[in-house]
């Protein structure tokens, strides 16, 4: 409990009155002072009793089912005053870091009548994608005399999964309409009716062939009836795997690798689903699978993938040049020796802890993270060919991706690695010095070595930067660039 500015002013006046008593040598000033102190004590005791008996229940509700980055998310806060006395307070719903109020206000002054519920609503805009943890609602109670205040943090934990920007979804729809991710070859998976057949050649006409299959142009040229033959166009079951390891989460410039990878995964999934490939998605980090949706062509599969990818953690903004990771090394090491140099607060400790986990991981924990996902999927498929699209920067999860590529080759599956190249996502330096050039050269050399390793392991490979769109990537894959 604190004394309000008015209460402090009252006490200052009391002190002045006491001083006046000494100056004027009169007891009346002290008596007046004692009258004010009497009211001060009374108000404090009364307010203490009110605070002690107050029973406030706070609940928060996120009104939007899907929250998108840079779009308003409506929130409603309900305050139930269970006490028999009114609750006069200032209510503040604290916003998570990186959020701003869009409309309304997250601060409200109200007098909640006894045994009643009062609510206020506002909307906020999240700058970035990720899971936002909304903390307690702060209630600053003040007494009726205005002399005291009491700050209370009412528990109302809410987690809002903010999706990537809505434009990403409309882009996915557009790309899916334009681009095709075709797979040449016959699989055991029955093709979908509309795209069942692909023209493969012509042969001599045989009685019984359908008239619509006769190649009339060849008849004019050859003088005999030829029949067009078709082969079933295969569909390839695909899993899009997004690396959420610590190196992917670090962001030092405009576009975070993880955000780009998430957008890419969404749009690729949409393209694959629109081309009738069974598609699933998973997000993994160094130690665990964050979320996973098995491949399917079910009606709401894209929505399921969206929900799964919503669980991908948000990117961590680091100071420019504070955290530099060595690409191509077997264990992700920070170039700066001190983990505290990475950023402020707990970020250094967080990265340090992950570094420790990664160090343990190399000692034999092979069935976690990416390998665990791939092994599980392959086991559940029981022999069918699959395509794994891994989106990773190959820094923290390099070894895991290489092992996954080897695993895919051993089991007769395909793997496509899309590398979000770290240097292309970093802020370009205004003047390139010799040390910077050497660093860029070393990292590119490391990346090329990694690419060679992956290609030797039978993986297809494509390196992308923040300017690469899904349409461009899909076209590159179709042209066989990968």
């Amino acid at each position: 409990m604190e004394t309000s500015p008015l209460g402090k002013m009252l006490l200052v006046f009391c002190a002045v009155f006491v001083l006046a008593a000494y100056l004027f040598m009169s007891l009346s000033w002290v008596v007046v002072c004692s009258g004010l102190v009497l009211i001060f004590v009374y108000s404090r005791r009364r307010f203490l009793s009110e605070v002690f008996h107050s029973q406030v229940k706070v609940s928060r509700e996120v009104l939007d089912e899907l929250a998108f980055a840079r779009e308003p998310v409506a929130v409603k806060v309900e305050i139930a005053n269970l006490n028999a006395t009114p609750l006069q307070a200032r209510f503040e719903d604290r916003l998570p870091h990186g959020c701003a109020v869009a409309s309304g206000s997250n601060v409200a002054f109200a007098k909640v009548p006894p045994r009643s519920v009062w609510s206020f609503a506002y909307s906020f805009v999240a700058e970035r994608r990720g899971r936002l943890a909304m903390d307690d609602v702060v209630i600053e109670q003040s007494d009726v005399f205005g002399l005291h205040t009491h700050r209370l943090e009412a528990p109302a934990k809410t987690t809002v999964a903010v999706h990537t920007r809505r434009e990403s979804l409309s882009t996915a729809r557009e790309v899916a309409r334009r681009e095709h991710f075709e797979y040449a070859g016959v699989t055991r998976t029955p093709a979908v009716a509309l795209r069942e057949f692909e023209h493969s050649g012509i042969r001599e006409y045989a009685p019984g062939d359908k008239a619509r299959d006769i190649h009339w142009k060849a008849f004019t040229r050859l003088g005999r009836l030829m029949t067009k033959t078709y082969k079933r166009e295969g569909t390839l079951e695909t899993m899009v795997l997004v690396d959420c390891s610590r190196s992917m989460r670090l962001s030092s410039h405009k576009v975070a690798k993880l955000d780009h990878a998430t957008d890419l995964a969404i749009q690729l999934s949409r393209v694959l689903l629109s081309n009738f490939h069974k598609t699933g998605a998973a997000a993994f980090d160094e130690t665990s699978v964050i979320s996973m949706v098995e491949s399917s062509l079910a009606k709401h599969q894209f929505e399921r993938i969206l929900i799964a990818l919503r669980d991908i953690p948000g990117a961590v903004k680091v100071d420019d040049g504070a955290a530099v990771l060595e690409p191509g090394t077997s264990s992700p090491l920070l170039r700066t020796q001190s983990p505290t140099a990475v950023g402020k607060g707990d970020r250094g400790a967080f990265l340090d802890a992950l570094k420790g986990i990664t160090a343990h991981r190399n000692a034999g924990m092979q069935d976690i993270g990416l390998e665990g996902v791939i092994r599980d999927v392959i086991t559940s498929r029981r022999g069918g060919e699959m395509l794994f699209v891994v989106i990773s920067d190959l820094i923290s999860s390099r070894d895991a991706v290489v092992s996954a590529a080897s695993l895919c080759r051993r089991t007769g599956n395909r793997i496509l690695v899309i590398q979000t190249y770290d240097d292309w996502y970093s802020k370009p330096s205004s003047c390139l010095d010799v040390a910077g050039a050497e660093r860029l050269c070393c990292s590119m050399s490391g990346a090329v070595n990694t690419e060679a390793t992956l290609r030797r392991a039978g993986a297809s490979f494509i390196r992308i930067g923040p300017a690469d769109t899904t349409a461009r990537i899909v076209r590159s894959i179709r042209r066989g660039v990968a």
């Binding site: 006046a20 009169s26 009364r46 029973q55 009726v144």
Partner: protein, 178 residues
């Protein structure tokens, strides 16, 4: 259950002002600011604006302290004047002025711990000097007539400060429940 309505608060403020007037020896030069202070308090209560009421309160308290000159509280007549003409009106006027922004939600309850504490503290303030004089008179009978105004001011101020601190600090730990 009595609600502190605007009418009640205005009545209390005017009663306090009347008590001031009854026990004080107001000159015209003090009557004018005193009246302005009362008007400010009433105005603040009517329009529910606490700063105006507080300004009026401090003006009135200064006027009251200037108009009632108390040199000793050991005398019963002066003691009665100080309690009825200063302590009680000050508390009542401060109560009504501080409640000026409240919108009829304040319920006056007498059978509460806060009210009992306030009563006890008020009684302590009132009897401090007479009791001190009695103790000093018992211990050193010759010194009872030589207690100066400054000594009484010091004793009362010490008691006020210590009582306020004790009353405020006790029960502080129990305010953490929500």
């Amino acid at each position: 259950m009595i609600k502190a309505s605007v009418g009640l608060k205005m009545t209390v403020a005017m009663a306090a002002a009347a008590l001031f007037l009854t026990f004080s020896n107001l000159s015209f030069s003090l009557l004018v600011p005193g009246a302005v202070g009362v008007v400010l308090v009433l105005f603040g209560i009517i329009i529910r604006y606490r700063p105006a009421a507080m300004l009026g309160l401090f003006v009135d308290l200064s006027v009251a302290a200037l108009s009632i000159d108390i040199v000793t509280l050991a005398d019963m007549d002066v003691w009665q004047t100080s309690v009825l003409g200063l302590l009680l009106p000050t508390s009542l006027l401060a109560w009504s002025a501080l409640l000026s922004e409240d919108t009829d939600s304040y319920v006056i309850r007498f059978r509460t711990r806060a009210f009992a504490t306030a009563l006890a503290v008020g009684a302590l303030f009132a009897v401090t000097i007479p009791v001190s004089a009695a103790i000093i008179g018992t211990a050193v009978p010759s010194a009872v007539n030589t207690i100066s105004t400054m000594a009484e001011v010091s004793i009362l101020f010490t008691v006020v400060a210590v009582t306020a601190l004790v009353a405020v600090r006790s029960g502080e730990g129990s305010s953490t429940r929500s």
